[in-house]
């Protein structure tokens, strides 16, 4: 009981102390302009810190509500993200369809690779479009980074294409904008390496020149950039063989476009 009284006395003493100090400060403030500014400054600082502290405390207790809001927002963003991913997926297909320069006489069909082999000497790929979608044999398979294969056989809904990473196929290619044409084929071991063969010795070229499709084969549209010329060597003293670094990385291949030359039969008919 006595201890309780002692506490009450202390509290009363503290209260009286605060009251008397406030009264003193108030008198000081009223009677001296310098002290008025000083007290006002101190009071503003004190109130600022009190408000700041109370704001921080309020913010802390508001965290639960904010967290709930953020969780809801997160869920909404996830939903939006999923929708956007769908749109991007569709846009990729559309890009394949419209991103490649259109050449008169060619029909383009965007496809997605269903199956692809990369670790053989005779690699292939199976695409998700077939005869029903307008795919025909001997159509070129391209991307915006170059040539990737040639359609060999077609079913109703799928087609089978030989990959450029297949030692059995070669593509008619030209070095430089107006250079000599030769046959481009896979080097047989690297993921983006190829050789451009049968370039006559009289044609000059530089290391770093771009290699394009020539358009002579009727399979691929002309002027599709394929890669960059590297080192070269003379074969049998008659022609050059040039190493080419392809633009297309076959390990990151998923969407392609099948290009079919509508005039192929007509041109072939004339050749006969």
């Amino acid at each position: 009981m006595r201890n309780g009284n002692s506490w009450i006395q202390r509290l009363v003493a503290i209260a009286i102390f605060i009251l008397l100090e406030i009264a003193s400060l108030n008198m000081l403030r009223r009677n001296a302009p310098l002290q008025r500014m000083w007290v006002a400054r101190a009071a503003h600082g004190f109130m600022g810190s009190i408000w700041g502290s109370s704001q921080r405390i309020g913010d802390y207790f508001a965290l639960k509500r904010i967290n709930a809001g953020l969780a809801e927002e997160n869920a909404e963003l996830r939903r939006e993200n999923a929708q956007l991913q769908d749109i991007i997926h569709q846009a990729k297909v559309d890009t394949m369809r419209y991103g490649i320069s259109r050449v008169k006489g060619f029909t383009y069909v965007p496809c997605e690779i269903r199956k692809i082999s990369r670790n053989k000497q005779h690699n292939y790929m199976i695409l998700d479009k077939g005869r029903e979608d307008g795919i025909q044999e001997n159509s070129g398979v391209i991307t915006r980074n170059g040539v990737v294969g040639i359609v060999e056989s077609v079913s109703e809904h799928y087609c089978y294409a030989l990959s450029l990473q297949n030692t059995d196929i070669s593509v008619s290619a030209r070095i430089g904008e107006e250079g000599a044409t030769g046959l481009l084929s896979w080097d047989g071991y690297s993921s983006n390496g190829a050789s451009l063969r049968e370039i006559p010795l009289q044609y000059k070229f530089e290391k770093g020149d771009t290699v394009y499709t020539s358009g002579h084969s009727l399979v691929f549209p002309p002027d599709i950039p394929l890669g960059v010329a590297g080192d070269s060597r003379v074969v049998n003293g008659q022609v050059n063989e040039i190493k080419v670094t392809l633009f297309q990385d076959f390990t990151a291949l998923r969407y392609v476009t099948v290009a079919f030359n509508n005039a192929k039969k007509e041109v072939e008919g004339l050749a006969k």
């Binding site: 006395q9 009286i16 008397l20 000081l28 009677n31 000083w38």
Partner: protein, 170 residues
């Protein structure tokens, strides 16, 4: 000393403080005051709340009747009254408070009394100089004023401490 006798002496010392405040301006660096020791010597049987009220009225009286700022002495003196028992407990020990006795030079020794006076004086001066400068004077000025006023105040207080806190066994 009986309470009535103490307060008669107390009032006389307030008048003495008024004289000090109004007529003894040695230099701007020295503030002569006996108010802290007067509050320190208020009988310990009087509780802290009442001591603070006495200190407040004393400070206000000196402020009103001297050339100082109204409220300045009261502002600095009330904390001395508030901390008085703690200072006594710290310097003279719990035993003095438990017995309900007051300190004196003969009973507690001059050293302890001077220490208590210095502590009370320091607390008073710190608040007084701080509030008086109101943030307009440089730190070094306040510091020099504090350093000069502290020993001067203790010396003046020594002259009155035996009057306010006499030894009852004399």
């Amino acid at each position: 000393m009986r309470k009535t006798g103490f307060f008669a002496v107390y009032v006389i010392l307030v008048v003495a403080q008024l004289l000090l405040s109004n007529y003894f301006h040695i230099t701007q660096y020295i503030l002569l005051t006996i108010l802290p020791v007067m509050v320190l010597c208020i009988p310990l049987k009087i509780n802290t709340s009442l001591t603070m009220l006495i200190a407040f009225v004393t400070g206000l009286t000196v402020d009103l009747l001297s050339e100082g700022l109204l409220g300045l002495n009261a502002l600095a003196l009330v904390p001395v009254a508030f901390a008085r028992k703690e200072m006594v407990r710290l310097i003279f020990g719990e035993e003095l408070l438990a017995r309900g006795e007051d300190f004196s030079v003969r009973r507690s020794g001059l050293g302890q009394v001077v220490l208590a006076m210095a502590l009370a004086q320091a607390l008073f001066l710190f608040i007084y100089i701080w509030a008086d400068s109101a943030g307009t004077r440089p730190f070094w000025f306040n510091f020099v004023r504090f350093i000069c006023s502290l020993p001067a105040g203790v010396l003046v207080s020594l002259l009155v401490v035996d009057t306010l806190a006499p030894d009852s066994r004399k």
